[in-house]
Each structure stands twice: as C-alpha cells, then as structure tokens.
Amino acid sequence: MAALALLASGCSESKSQASPECRDVMTGACAAPTTCPQSWKAGWQRLANRLHTTVYCPTWMPSPIDAKIGGQWDNGISVEKDHSYLVSFLWHEPPSQDVHVNFRGYPGRTKIPRCEDVEVVGGKVRRTTMPCFSDPHGKRRLGGITATMYTVNRGVDQWHILYAWHDHGSLYAVSEHVIKPLTYAKVVSNLDRMVRGLVRVKPAT
C-alpha cells in the first residue's frame, strides 16, 4: 500500500528517493539535471568502464523505483558479446502490478536488433525473427535527444513503450511497461521525463 501511495502522488514524488535531483528543489518544479545522481553514479560509471562506451544515466525514475545499479530495485544487468547491454529496474506488487523500466545500448550499431519468436503450431516448432522494436509512433525532441517512440516491442520489452535514439553511431533505448497501476498516458509521460533527464556517462580512461 505504501508503494501505491507513492505511485498516486504527483510531482511531489520528485522529492522521494526515486528522484534525488529534486531533493533541493523547494518550488516543486524540478531543475534540469546535468549529472548522474551521486548515489546512482558509481554503478553507471562501472558499466561504462566495463563496456568502454558511453552509457546514459537517468536523473529521474518513476516512483517507487530508482536507478541504482545493485540497489533495491535492480532487476539485473546483461551484457552480450557485442557489448550491447540491458539494465533493468523493477517494482512488483502481486498479483499483477509492476513499475518496470529497461535501459538498453547497442554500441557501434544503429540498426534495430532482431528478436526471435518461437511458436509450436500443429506440433511443429516454428522460429521466426522480427524487429525487436516496431510500430513507430513519431519522433520526440526531449532535451538533447531526438527519440522515436515504438509501441510494439519484443523480448523483455514486450508490453512496454520504448523510446530509441542514435548517438555517435550507437543505438540506445529506454522502455517502460504499460501495466497497472500505470496507464499508457502515464508511461509516455514518464518516458518523456526520463529521456529528457538522461545524462551521458563516459568511460573513465
């Protein structure tokens, strides 16, 4: 219930742990952040160093989750051989309420990856591949990022709305699950705010 109460709050949630950049903002309006929040930075810096590539650190997350890698809401990191990565944060309230955000990066490539779909039809296993992000719904200019919104996404981004953009020859994406207690409109608003607040974390030399 406590989590639900947090979710029901408006901009005041900016003052919760989910959005450390707003702690000092007395007006209720959040100032545009310029750096990765101190308590989250170490994890994102380690990731950038490990991949030898720039990653994007959020400065705001939808309540109740935060973006502290290794923290309470960390849902795992996976890094593939090609250095593409997935960083996931999840709050789950049984039976079926989630706040689930995924951050992705595909260093050195801009093409949308393909996902495999496996179905059993008439006793035969059928494997097909399809774009992992599809049904583009226009571009959005958010801070310094021009992102394309995709409404149909595969794999761990299924049921998510996803924003993807290119930066220096790499593809990046952030997605959030459309599921109670969130509506589509709230997820879009959350993604707008998350992407607007993203800051680059470069690998330390």
Binding site: E119, V120, V121, G122, G123, K124, R126, P131, S134, D135, T151, V152, N153, Q158, W159, H160, I161, V178, T183, Y184, A185
Partner: protein, 463 residues
C-alpha cells in the same frame, strides 16, 4: 473528458436502464449525424435497414454503419392462455413504431428475433411443423449455440426467448422505442439484459471508438488509430464483406426447407454474442504487419496505416489458400480463414432471381463496439458476471441463413475448414487470427421471422 462511474453505469430496474443512455450519451456529443435522404419503406424482411449510405474510404466502397445500437433480451412471462393477447399487444406497438419511424438510418431499424426456448416452451407443436429445416446440415435451421474451440470454458450459452435489436443514428429514437415496447409488454415480457454500443462513421477526427474508449479510460484506448470504425482499427463494413440484401433470407440460397406453409419465408437467422477485446494486447504486442496478418491474411500486401483493406470477391481465399498459409506461416488470417465458409464457392442463382457470383459474402454483420461489461444492464448480474468498470468489447450480431451456416463460419475462424479438415492450433493461439485477443462471454442463436410474423410467431397456430 473522463467519465464518472455514475455516467458509465446505470443500475436499478430495467425500465430505468432502458430510458438511460449512460456513457453512450457521449456518442451524440462526439459526432454529428448527417441527414439521410432515404425514403421510408416497409420491407417484408425485418433485418434490413433502408437507405444505408455507401461511401468510398481509401478507394473502397464502405457501408456506413449506424451510430447507435441496442439489444434488449427478454423472457416470455405471459400466462399460457394470454399469449394471443400478448401477440396482439406487441404487434400493435411494433406497428405504431413503424408508423412513427422510417426504417432508415435517421429513423429506426428494429428487428425482433426469437430464441429456441420460446419455440420449445410456448409453441412446441407448431414449431415442430413450421420451423425451417437446414437441408445441407440435416438439422433444424435454428439450434442452440455452442462453445467453439477458442471460446473460454465459461462462455455462457443463453436461453432468452426474444431479442430486440434497435439500430439508428438517433439515440433518442432507440430510447423511445425500447421504452415503449417495455411499457406496453409489462406482464408479458420480462427484460433479461440491455446491451448498448456504437460504431464509428469514419467522418474525420479521432473517430467514435477511440473517443469513447479514451473517455472511458479503457486500457489501450490511446493506441486505437485515429478515425477507425471499430476498436481494432480496421474497417469492417466494406460492401464486399457484407452479404447482399436478401442473401441471408431462409429461401434465397436454397439451403432451407421452409415447411408446408413457408411461414418463415423472408425470415433469417441471427447470432448474438458478447466478446471482450484486449486492446492493449492487440496494439502493444502486434505491430501493424502482425495486425494485418491476423485480421486478414499472412503476408497480404497492405500499405502501413491502411484501415480499409480491399477484400473483393475475386480475392476471396479458398480452403487450399488457407491450408497453404497454415503450412507456410503457421498462421491463418481472420478474414482469410472465414472466406471458404462465408463466401459463395460458386455462382448461385437465388430464389429472388439474383445471380450471386462466386466469392460473394453471405453473412450480414451488424456488430458494434461497446463499453458494456459485459452488458449495460442485467436482470441477473451474478450470472452475467457484470463488472463495474467499462470494458472494450463487441456485441457481435450477424445474420446467416441458418445456425449451421453461422457455426461453419465460426469454426473456420478456429481453423476447422468447411470440408472438415482441422488446422491444429492451441486455443487462442497467436496464429489463429483474432482469437488470441478475444474472449467471448455470452452466445445465443435466434430466428428472425419475416415482418408479418415478428410478434410471438406461431402463437396463432397453437390451437
């Protein structure tokens, strides 16, 4: 505009619910009704509405659906000895409504359909003689609905005696007619359910389905394409996918033996069901290409964003086309799988003299979107599992020549071909057309008598 619960649902007695519009009042606030210049006329058939507009959408001829729809179901509660009086009363009120409203979009389309329980319980002897018989199926033309392979185990098979289908571009006409019938038939009919809904008229803007679903806060509503006729984003009423006017009459295609006096000549069969639609799953898990594959046919070439996909008779799928898609893609499209059962497989000269060409559609659909959960009002909310929140769905109304003809169509949608071959799918599998996002809650088959026998059919022959 967000609606309050009070605006969404109207509880209480059937009479109050018949006179209330609830959320559907919004339909007229969201769309202007164009005037109809159709001429009023009384057809022998009850299921036809005159003066339907036909417009071109994306280069395809589309029959513009009526904006407001309502179905009222009821049980006959008149004592056995008073059925003739009840018949006279209903006939009188129907005649008055015929006089008050033209049978056109701006007037009122009113269809009275009778369920098997009525014939079995109130006029069994006469029904045994006069109910039409399906020669092809070797079964009565009207039999009980069944749960189809993709239906949930808890789909309710209903046992209403009668259903009144009201259609109009003017909601006030429906309200007046439904209230008048209910008032006049007190003591003879007991209302069991009221079902309401709407269809978009593709007249610009966001479109009624999207506006209504968004106002109701239905999950997935924001993703409905602007301007679409129905929640699922494709135009369903193109001329080529609806049967020509008299093709579903019992007598037209020669499927039916009408019995010694052809009592039901000019009548037809109606199936009524309610289906929940999972809009979020449809729009978040299936991209446009998937939705075309699912709604029409795998790999059908369609320009992205198209809502009205041409389906001319010449491109109707055969059983072998469907089988080929199944073998190649492990999937069958909704329209494609239906067509071997729902389209004529050869030219047929109808009893009305019309030559119906191979590939012509037979069923006349009158389905409409709804936010009922599952009904606007129910006399038995527990049995009907009435929910409090609005829910995206469809009241599926379709006219076919017989129950068996409808069942053939519906089975084809589940991969059971008219020739009996079964394309194996798990229930509601992704490859099985729309089924993965649909959940049917209620079903019933009805017989639609011709206009002259629409009031308590066969009662006058009882003695």
């Amino acid at each position: 505009m967000k609606l309050t619960r009070k605006q969404l649902l109207v509880g209480g007695a059937a009479g109050a619910a018949l006179g209330a519009a609830g959320i559907y009042e919004l339909v007229d606030k969201l769309a202007d009704s164009p005037p109809s210049d159709a001429v009023a006329a009384r057809l022998p058939e009850q299921h036809l509405v005159d003066g339907m507009r036909v417009e071109k959408q994306e280069g395809v001829e589309v029959v513009v659906p009526l904006r407001h729809h309502e179905v009222v179901t009821a049980r006959v509660v008149a004592p056995r000895g008073q059925l003739l009086d009840a018949r006279a009363s209903l006939a009188a009120v129907l005649a008055k409504l015929d006089a008050d409203f033209s049978s056109t979009p701006d007037g009122l389309g009113l269809t009275v359909a009778w369920g098997l329980p009525y014939f079995q319980n109130h006029v069994p002897a006469a029904a045994g003689v006069h109910l039409p018989f399906d020669r092809r199926a070797r079964k009565p033309a009207l039999f009980d609905a069944v749960r189809f392979p993709s239906d949930p185990d808890d789909t309710l098979l209903e046992d209403n005696d009668v259903a009144f289908l009201f259609r109009s571009d003017n909601e006030e006409n429906i309200r007046a007619a439904a209230t008048e019938i209910a008032d006049r038939m007190k003591g003879a009919l007991a209302v069991t359910s009221i079902r309401k809904g709407f269809a978009g008229q593709m007249d610009g803007g966001k479109g009624l389905p999207k506006e209504m679903a968004t106002a109701a806060g239905v999950p997935g509503a924001d993703l409905i394409p602007d301007g679409s006729e129905l929640f699922l984003g494709f135009t369903s009423t193109q001329r080529n996918t609806l049967g020509p006017r008299r093709i579903v009459n019992f007598e037209t295609l020669g499927l039916v033996d009408l019995g010694p006096r052809s009592y039901f000549h000019g009548g037809t069969h109606m199936h009524l069901s309610h289906i929940f639609e999972d809009l979020e799953a449809w729009y978040l898990n299936q991209d446009f290409r998937d939705r075309v594959n699912t709604a029409f046919r795998p790999r059908l070439p369609v320009r992205p964003g198209t809502q009205t996909v041409p389906q001319p008779p010449s491109r109707a799928s055969s059983e072998s086309d469907v089988r080929r898609d199944y073998d190649r893609f492990g999937a069958i499209g909704h329209s494609s799988s239906l067509q071997p059962a729902s389209r004529l497989q050869q030219d047929v000269r109808g009893s009305d003299g019309t030559l119906y060409a191979k590939g012509t559609a037979i069923p006349q659909r009158a389905d409409f979107n709804t936010l009922d959960n599952p009904f606007f009002w129910s006399a038995d909310p527990k049995r009907d599992r009435m929910g409090e929140e609005p829910a995206a769905g469809l009241h599926f109304v379709v006219f076919n020549p017989t129950s068996d003809d409808f069942h053939r169509n519906r089975l084809a949608m589940d991969g059971v071909m008219p020739g009996g071959e079964k394309l194996v799918f798990a229930p509601r599998a992704a490859g099985q057309g729309f089924n993965s996002i649909l959940r049917t809650t209620h079903r019933q088959n009805f017989l639609v008598p011709p206009r002259r026998h629409r009031s308590f059919p066969l009662v006058e022959l009882k003695s």
